[in-house]
């Protein structure tokens, strides 16, 4: 017994941190080596046939930041991502609220369904959307039968198709995140507001939404990031006509074999997403500070 205690005291603690070094080396190698050679590539000139120049140039960046075509693509990516994020929040928050507040055994089934929707590969979901959204698809048939529209809506191969695809892609993740957020808001606060005569609408507006705001912003940010980088739905539902940044990157690689420009576009995309994140974190902090009573 004495020996054991002595060993315990003499600092024979398992050195668990030693486990860290191998993964750290692997992650660092997989992150830094490719990314560095990639950013390096973006400063080279395309010589055609997949060859690149030996000299460093800023041409690619200047071209992207001055050509209206690339600026338009940047703006389109931003606009569609924002639209899809807003739609996802409008649909996702009420649903997350219902799921979090319902006290029924059905809830876990509904959550599992969300999980299934989020884990079925995106190509299959896009295939399903293209089946139902076509000119003669069930959605248009339904809308015409009910009399909402007289002519079939064009919901594929344009930007509305892309937005629908983006919402489909991000919604399950967003709802699962907001589900956790709503669960942290005590029901008693809502009941207190209603006991004091607040209507349902004003309870939502003045109690629930403010309390969920940090979660809504975090969820919106995650959704926006996913949208900015969304590739599969943008390519397939845009039908090659909606040229967001991820679609352009693919075209530069496969059609034009212009690796440096693709590298440059990709770098711009990563930097934009990163800047947007930093900006919104700062905004959130500033907002919380200004709300705090001094």
């Amino acid at each position: 017994m004495k020996a054991i205690v002595a060993r315990h005291r003499s600092g024979a603690r398992p050195r668990w941190h030693l486990f860290l070094w191998a993964p750290l080396a692997i992650s660092a190698a997989l992150l830094i080596l490719p990314q560095a050679s990639f950013v390096w590539m973006s400063f080279h000139k395309n010589l055609g046939m997949g060859l690149v120049s030996d000299t460093l140039v800023l041409d690619n960046y200047l071209r992207i930041l001055s050509d209206p075509f690339y600026l338009g693509s940047l703006w389109l990516t931003f606009r569609l991502s924002l639209e899809a994020t807003v739609f996802a929040l409008i649909l996702g928050f009420p649903a997350a609220y219902c799921l979090a507040r319902a006290r029924s055994s059905w809830v876990s089934l509904l959550v599992v369904l969300l999980l299934i929707s989020s884990f079925v590969t995106i190509v299959i979901k896009v295939l399903g959307l293209s089946l139902v959204l076509g000119q003669e698809g069930v959605v248009n048939q339904f809308l015409q039968a009910v009399g909402i529209v007289s002519e079939p809506l064009r919901l594929l191969n344009n930007s509305s198709g892309v937005v629908i695809g983006l919402v489909q892609y991000t919604l399950p993740f967003l709802v699962m995140l907001l589900f956790g957020v709503v669960q942290t808001i005590p029901v008693s606060l809502e009941e207190a507001a209603e006991l004091h005569g607040a209507s349902r609408a004003s309870t939502i507006r003045r109690v629930i939404v403010p309390l969920a705001l940090p979660g809504l912003i975090a969820g919106g940010l995650m959704t926006f990031n996913l949208n900015m980088g969304a590739f599969t739905s943008a390519v397939l539902l845009g039908g090659g006509k909606v040229l967001t940044l991820p679609v352009l990157i693919q075209r530069k690689i496969f059609l034009d074999v212009d690796y440096p420009l693709a590298a440059c576009l990709a770098t711009v995309l990563v930097v934009l997403v990163f800047l947007f994140n930093v900006a919104s974190v700062l905004l959130l902090r500033w907002n919380m500070r200004s709300q705090r009573p001094s």
């Binding site: 668990w16 860290l20 750290l24 649903a95 299934i116 299959i124 295939l127 980088g229 991820p246 990709a266």
Partner: protein, 276 residues
């Protein structure tokens, strides 16, 4: 308040919830229904005109092969990233390092980079690597596995880390006081308690790798094309009704896997949280 009264006050929210489920699951059901349409040409008809399983017998061999490639890549990826992520999680949570938050953020970087970018980055890296060393990862199984391990490590760190954080470290201390060696503490105390996290990590690794298009589309070619990429190419350039039957099979397999995981490790570990 009775459940019915509560429901009546929130009917509008429930309406949105119903619409959301319809929107999320409707297209998947549409695929399953359309795959049963015997006279399938190009469009989806509802209700089906002639029910038949004919398309299930006509799935071209390249898709079956691609399914095999996908399963192989996803299985290897799941094992490797769970091993690497599990080691990292033990180091981060139990290592007692002061900078573990920063390290955790570093491990999560792959989640911040859009997947298309990761795909292009590795495409160019493999190209340059091939020029420098003569070893070409493009179009190989290993090339796909490396990229997928890169993008799935954060998931296994997340699942195994969150299990470790819930386990009281006193458990290991007790084992040590009772004279357990480092190896036996690891094998007989730590490993059993993190088992659910390991399963969840394997599940995430498999399902993320299996569903990936944006990175694999740049890396996979020739003999080693994964199933989602094969379907992606089909949808981009032409259409084959057999894809509907194939997709239905993949959906059914995914559902079985998800239900199995939910039974084994429970819902809260399988749910992706915002932290990961």
């Amino acid at each position: 308040m009775s459940p019915l009264a509560r429901f009546r006050r929130q009917w509008f929210f429930w309406l949105i919830t119903a619409a959301l489920y319809f929107f999320l699951l409707g297209p998947i059901f549409a695929i399953a229904l359309a795959s049963l349409e015997g006279k399938q040409t190009y469009h989806f008809q509802f209700p089906p005109e002639a029910l038949s399983l004919a398309w299930y017998g006509k799935i071209p061999h390249k898709y079956v092969h691609a399914l095999g490639v996908s399963v192989a890549v996803a299985s290897i990826t799941a094992c490797l990233s769970t091993l690497i992520g599990g080691m990292a999680a033990i180091g981060l949570v139990r290592g007692g390092l002061r900078r573990s938050d920063t390290l955790q953020a570093f491990f999560n970087v792959p989640l911040q980079v859009p997947l298309v970018v990761t795909g292009v980055v590795f495409l160019q890296f493999y190209n340059q690597f091939a020029i420098l060393t003569g070893i070409d990862f493009l179009g190989s199984l290993l090339g796909l596995v490396i990229v997928h391990v890169f993008i799935t490590i954060p998931y296994s760190i997340g699942t195994i880390g969150s299990v470790l954080m819930r386990v009281n470290p006193r458990l290991e201390e007790a084992a040590r006081t009772l004279g357990g060696s480092e190896w036996s503490i690891f094998r007989r105390v730590l490993l059993p308690v993190v088992k659910p996290g390991i399963f969840a990590g394997l599940f995430y690794g498999f399902i993320v790798s299996f569903g990936d298009v944006p990175t694999a589309v740049f890396i996979a070619s020739g003999e080693f094309v994964t199933l989602p990429v094969e379907i992606f190419q089909t949808l981009q350039f032409d259409f084959d009704p057999a894809v509907l039957a194939l997709s239905t099979i993949v959906v059914i397999l995914s559902v079985i896997l998800i239900l199995f995981m939910q039974k084994v490790v429970g819902l809260d570990l399988v749910l992706p949280s915002g932290k990961r």
